[in-house]
């Protein structure tokens, strides 16, 4: 989603994900330290949809990511309609959302790994609410 945003809105037509090879401008790059199988602490942005859905400003999430938003591209996650939804303890962006869209959320972690019967993850509750118009 950040690659699409970079190419079509942020003026980086050759934006690329490093997993597909070295061509273009790497927006998503290999993390210096892989987060595969880790848990990460997140600070949610006050006033963001993610914070509103979560009902808190601090969460712990699971991630399997070996890739993240490139360190020199962090500003991509805000501006041109995006705002930062969450940052991790190192200050790196972990979630971004559109302010001009019914529900558009990109996470650089895996909320589905924290979901359980009777304890659905707020991200998927938000998606379902947006879809069924009950928000």
């Amino acid at each position: 989603m950040l690659v699409e945003h970079a190419r079509n809105l942020a003026g980086i037509p050759d934006a690329a994900h490093a997993e597909y090879g070295a061509g273009g401008t790497a927006v998503i790059s290999l993390l210096a330290c892989s987060l595969q199988g880790q848990t990460i602490n997140l600070d949610l942005t006050p006033g963001s949809r993610l914070a509103e859905l979560s009902g808190t400003l601090r969460t712990v999430e699971h991630t399997t990511c070996s890739y993240g938003l490139a360190s020199d591209m962090q500003e991509l996650a805000s501006g041109h309609g995006l705002r930062v939804g969450a940052v991790d303890d190192t200050g790196e962006v972990r979630a971004t959302e559109r302010v001009d869209h019914p529900f558009y959320l990109a996470t650089l972690y895996q909320p589905q790994l924290r979901s359980a019967p009777g304890r659905p993850h707020p991200v998927f509750v938000g998606l379902l609410n947006a879809l069924t118009g009950t928000e």
Partner: protein, 99 residues
Amino acid sequence: MHAPVISVLIDVDSAWRGQRRGGGRGYGAATIAALDHASQSLGVQAHVRVVPTDTIDRDVIADPGAAVVVGPGSPYRNPEGVLEVIRVARENGIPLVGT
């Protein structure tokens, strides 16, 4: 009225890879389960369909009543097709989550 459709863009071979590691659920299965947990808690019905990226079709972004979940499990077999779905969803207000 038809139940709303949620298309989950995942390539099965990579998305289920996690199942072999540490005995945990695969990312794909976890995504389907998470949508199920949310539907049940909200008491809403949604039809969840798994769409491998090399079979992306018009139904993925059929409006109204569509939502899209992208990933996890890159690299995708059809990354340009995934980017096109993201663009259309962004421009048309189709609910979209990418993990």
